[in-house]
Structure formats: C-alpha cells, structure tokens
C-alpha cells in the first residue's frame, strides 16, 4: 500500500532525476577521440580548470548567488516579521497574497517587465531625465546590480514563507521576557529571535540559493552578454557547441558546487539538514 502511494514520486525521481543523472555522469566522463568513437576520460573536467573563463564564470555565479541570497534574506526578514508578528487577521492573509501575486505570471513575463522598466528607452531612465537627475537616459540593464535585482525579486517569496512559519512559532512572551530582563531591540534580535528562527532562515537560504544558482532566464535577460552565469555555459555547450560531454561535466560541477556551499552553510550555522527541511 505504501509503495503504491509512493509510486508516482518514485517513478518521477527515478525517471527524471536519477536516470538522466546517471546518463549525464557517463557522458561527462568520456571523450570523443574520433567520430562516434569515445573512450573514458577526465578531459572535460581538465578543460574546466585549464580555461580561466569557465572557472571565473563558475566562481562569479557562486558569489553572485550568495550575495543575492543575503540581500533576499535582509529584505524578506522585515516583511516576514510584519506578517508573522505585527499584523493580525484579514490583512495578514492580504499581505501574504500580495507576496504571492507576482508568481501568478511566468518568470519570463516578470523579467520582461523589469526590462521595460530599466532599458535605456524604458520607464525609469525616462523618469530620471524628467526629474533632472541625469541629462540623458541611462542604460540600466546589463549590470550586475540589475541581475541581483531580478534574482532577489524572483526569490523573495521562497524566503518569506519559511521565515513566516519560523517567526510565527516564536512565543511573544519570550521577547517580552528578554525586554523585561534588560534586553534591547538589537540584542533580542541576535539572542532570541535569530536563534529561534535559524532553521527557517537556513531553509529559506538553501531554497533561494539553489534557485538562484540554477537560474538561467533572469541573468541572461537582465545581464545580457555581461551576465556570465554558469548555467549559460552549460546551455552553450549543450545547444550551441553540441558538446554534450562538456555540458554534462559542467552540470556535475555546478551540482557539486551547490552541495558544497549548502554543506558549508549548514556547518557555519550549526543547523541539521533534516530539521531545516521540515521548516520549508
């Protein structure tokens, strides 16, 4: 009975996750020596380390993702606090819905919306000219900051939700008790609220980091040629170069990178993966 209930999930896991990964794993560990002749080789991974562009892009993607995650956390925390602790009743669900509404449109449309706002002939540069801030329209697309704006915007909900559930479970009397015993806003945040919300914070960070690292659309559209996102390299190898072996190797490197960073994050925050995942 249990197996029957789990069957769809298991089929999905096996067919769409495990099998393709095994296939990609095999692909990544072979090299083409002649047309239709392959032999086992680590050449793809060697290329990655020998070609600076690849591992520069790789490190840049990781760093930008960490920065995007941090900004998302900083922006989502006050929102989650407001929804979880300050607002009661109907307006609470209203605010949650407002966080959710942007996700009713597809990511492409949302990103195009940003492009309309930020491109040189767009709304925001025109507004700046009209206000006299800049003499001529400024191109606001194709900067790192633009990519970050897009990534944070896309990720917000995935940070807000686990934070709300973590903060809602915090007993208000703990905050009052700390205040009564001489704590102030900052020390209560650091010693009571953050330790309590830690599993939720880490859960939100993991989800947002994964989504950001693996995002293709937002960096490509908002960053243009300057984006240098690692997923673009994978896309290029598979689609443009038709070098599936190299693309597969890049895919595995990205998987390894995200796993490593999440592991380090868990170690640094002293959280356990199982507990954290229950909070998401």
């Amino acid at each position: 009975m249990l197996m029957l209930l789990l069957a769809p999930a298991l089929l999905w896991l096996l067919g769409l996750i495990v099998l393709p990964h095994v296939e990609l794993g095999i692909l990544s560990l072979r090299a083409r020596v002649a047309p239709r002749v392959y032999e086992p080789s680590l050449a793809q991974f060697r290329t990655f380390f020998e070609e600076p562009l690849y591992w520069h892009t790789f490190m840049r993607t990781a760093l930008m993702s960490i920065v995007a995650t941090a900004i998302t956390l900083l922006m989502a925390f006050p929102i989650a606090w407001t929804i979880a602790k300050l607002i009661k009743g109907k307006s609470k669900s209203m605010l949650l819905v407002m966080c959710l509404i942007p996700f009713w449109v597809s990511e492409t449309v949302r990103t195009l919306g940003w492009m309309i706002l930020l491109r040189e002939s767009g709304v925001l540069p025109a507004l700046l000219v009209w206000l006299g801030v800049t003499p001529a329209p400024v191109e606001m697309l194709y900067h790192d900051a633009t990519i970050l704006v897009g990534l944070v915007y896309t990720s917000m909900l995935f940070m807000v939700i686990p934070l709300i559930s973590a903060l809602e479970s915090l007993d208000d009397s703990l905050i009052e008790a700390a205040y009564d015993l001489g704590g102030n806003g900052w020390s209560i945040l650091r010693q009571i609220i953050i330790p309590h919300a830690a599993p939720g914070i880490v859960a939100g960070c993991i989800v947002v980091f994964m989504l950001t690292l693996g995002n293709y659309l937002t960096p490509t559209l908002l960053g243009g040629k300057n984006s240098q996102w690692f997923t673009e390299q994978i896309y290029t190898q598979f689609i443009t170069r038709f070098n599936w072996e190299q693309g597969a190797a890049f895919g595995f490197l990205l998987l390894g990178l995200s796993t490593a960073i999440v592991w380090v994050g868990l170690k640094l925050s002293g959280q356990k993966f199982g507990e954290v995942m229950q909070k998401t």
Binding site: D171, E176, A178, L181, G182, Q191
Partner: protein, 364 residues
C-alpha cells in the same frame, strides 16, 4: 491609574500601595483587568491616566528594560535556545556585568533556589517545578525592587502547585523582595499573601489581609468570590443592633450581620459560609447553643476528604444550602433524604445592601 480600550475600562481608577518586602496578590476572575494592571506596572502598557511609583520613583515613559521591575511570565518564557545558566545570566549580561561576576552570581542564585550546578542543563531537561525556580532565579538575580508574577502556577498540576505555593512563600521570605502576584485562584492568594486585592471589572473591590477578606468581606462580590459561600437575595424585614433579618423571595427568614448601612425594606444579599453552619440531627442541640435553626432535607453528599460537604434543601422555602461536614465522624452515616437541622451564629453570616460595590466603602 486607569487604562481604557475604547469605551472598555480595563483598569478603572485604581489607587493602591504595596509595602516594601511584602507579598501582595491581586485576585480576580479572568477578564477583570489584573493582567492589564500587571503589564502597566511592568511597563509593557502605559497608563492612560495616573502614575506608578516604584521605590519612590515615577515610571511614566520608562520602558520595561529600564524599570527596577522584573516579571515571571504565565508560561515562564524561559529561553529554550539557552542553557539554564545563560537564562539566569541573561539580565546580568545585558547590564554589562563581567563574565566572572556573572558566573559567580548565577551559581549563587541557582544554589539559593535549590538548583546547584544546573547551569549547563537545557531548559527542556527541567521538570515543571525546576523551570519555575529558574524563572524566578532569572528575575531575582537582577535584584529588582519589585517582582511581578503572572499566574505562574497556572500551568502546573495540582500536587506540584500545592508544593510550589509553599516554595514561593519561602523564597519570598528568604529574598525579602516585594512580590506582586496575580491569580484567579483564591487559595494561592490567601495562602501566599500578606495583603490581597480582590479585583472585579477593573476596580478593587477590597484590599486587605487574607483574614480580613475571608472574615470581613466588604462587598457581595468579595463574599462570593473568596472562599465558598451560600448566597441569598431578599429584603431586610427587620434591622436591630447590627443584625438584619433577611426574608428571601422563597420565604426563607434568616438573620445576618449588616455590613454597611441597611434599613428595613432594603433589597439585600446575605452570605453564610458552609463551614460556619452547624449540622445537627436534633434541633435541640442548636437551640441549646443559642443558634437559630432550620430544618432541611439532605439532597446530596459531596465527599471530598477534608472539604466534604452536604447539599441541603431547607424544608419551608426549598432554598439550597451547602454545609461543611464536620470531620468528627458524627455524620459519617448521613444518608440522602434524611431530615436534619442546621444553624449558624448570625454574627458570622454577612448581609449587604444589594448592588454594593467598592465605591461605598473605604478600604481599611
């Protein structure tokens, strides 16, 4: 002082003082405003009018973290993310006390609340009573002028509650800190306190020692709320020498001592405590003792060990009375349906003009 929420007066024109080093309880039913009052003293709420002075200093505008007042919360609010030692040391650390000094004072404090060496324990490893002691230690280590306790025994089971009552009283005596304790449990208030304020609808009905509240209630509410009581509403048909003869609507005629001014013909409320009335099989026993007596039929027996009682219906008026069963064994064979006599000393029954509230009385 006063606190209003819109038209609702949570705390309505209160004025009282608590002697330094005493145990003061505020007793009242839920929703009477006692929590609001406590939160105003703690500083979580600001009074709409009036002033709170603590240790001679005005407190208006002083936030909770700057007041010489600490609070033990209803559910204790121990910090689960910290060890016992960190919990107790939290307030000291916030005051910037040196680490060694914190360690020493936390150790001393835990010893004084009989938890020596518990510093490294996690909060969830403690029993209910131990958590209670940690919560009190966490506040007392800051040597507050005033310790507020918000029904801290409410969440404990009966046996532990009885035990903690005694412990709280001993702790207060040992530390000499002023305790202000709020509760809806009259037994806690009576056992623990030097003085008790009975609160209802945002006002103090009466402030006094537990004995005064019990023996000399000043309002019908206090008479009904503190201890058990049989209540009779009726009219004063005769007033003579401080004793009122009350005639109830059902036709029961009983004497009671007048509290406040009562004239013949006034609507009144009379109270007789179950433990004041005497039960007898022969009416003669009561007449010999010089007590007015009534004949009644036993309706049910309420056995509860030392608090056993019997429910009677007075023969003429069918008024229900609850009378304590003496523990002498004399009535051990009492059966339902039996006819007995009961009587009481009119001096120990009290009578109020109907609708008397705290307004008409000056507190002693």
């Amino acid at each position: 002082m006063a606190k209003h929420y819109g038209a609702f007066r949570a705390v309505d024109d209160l004025s009282f003082s608590v002697a330094r080093g005493s145990f003061f309880s505020i007793l009242g039913p839920s929703g009477c405003g006692k929590t609001t009052l406590l939160r105003m003293i703690a500083g979580f709420l600001e009074a709409d009018s009036g002033e709170i002075h603590i240790g001679g200093k005005a407190t208006r505008g002083v936030p909770p973290n700057k007041r010489p007042v600490n609070m033990v919360f209803q559910h204790l609010a121990l910090f689960p993310m910290m060890s016992v030692g960190e919990n107790v040391g939290y307030g000291l650390a916030r005051r910037g006390v040196a680490k060694d000094e914190i360690k020493r004072r936390v150790g001393d404090m835990l010893e004084r609340v009989s938890l020596p060496g518990a510093q490294a324990k996690r909060v969830d490893q403690l029993s209910g009573g131990q958590k209670q002691r940690v919560a009190i230690a966490r506040s007392l280590v800051l040597e507050p002028t005033l310790l507020l306790l918000d029904e801290p025994l409410g969440a404990l089971d009966l046996k532990l509650r009885e035990h903690m009552k005694i412990e709280l009283k001993q702790l207060q005596a040992a530390f000499g800190t002023t305790f202000v304790y709020i509760t809806h449990d009259q037994s806690e208030a009576l056992v623990l306190s030097d003085h008790v304020a009975v609160m209802n609808h945002g006002r103090f009905e009466q402030v006094g020692t537990p004995q005064q509240l019990y023996y000399e209630p000043q309002t019908p509410f206090v008479a009904g709320f503190v201890g058990a009581n049989n209540r009779m509403a009726g009219r004063a048909t005769e007033v003579k020498g401080g004793i009122v003869t009350v005639t109830s609507a059902q036709g029961l005629v009983m004497p009671a001592r007048a509290i406040g001014k009562i004239a013949a013909g006034d609507a009144v409320e009379a109270f007789v405590r179950p433990e004041v009335a005497r039960l007898a099989r022969q009416a003669a026993t009561l007449t010999d003792a010089g007590l007015p007596h009534f004949t009644a039929r036993v309706d049910s027996l309420l056995f509860d060990g030392a608090n056993s009682a019997v429910l009677l219906h007075e023969a003429q008026s069918n008024t229900e009375f609850r009378i304590a069963l003496p523990q002498t064994g004399e009535f051990a064979d009492l059966t339902v349906g039996e006819t007995v006599s009961f009587g009481f000393d009119p001096q120990r029954a009290v009578c109020f003009a109907a609708g008397t509230t705290a307004d008409e009385h000056v507190f002693s």
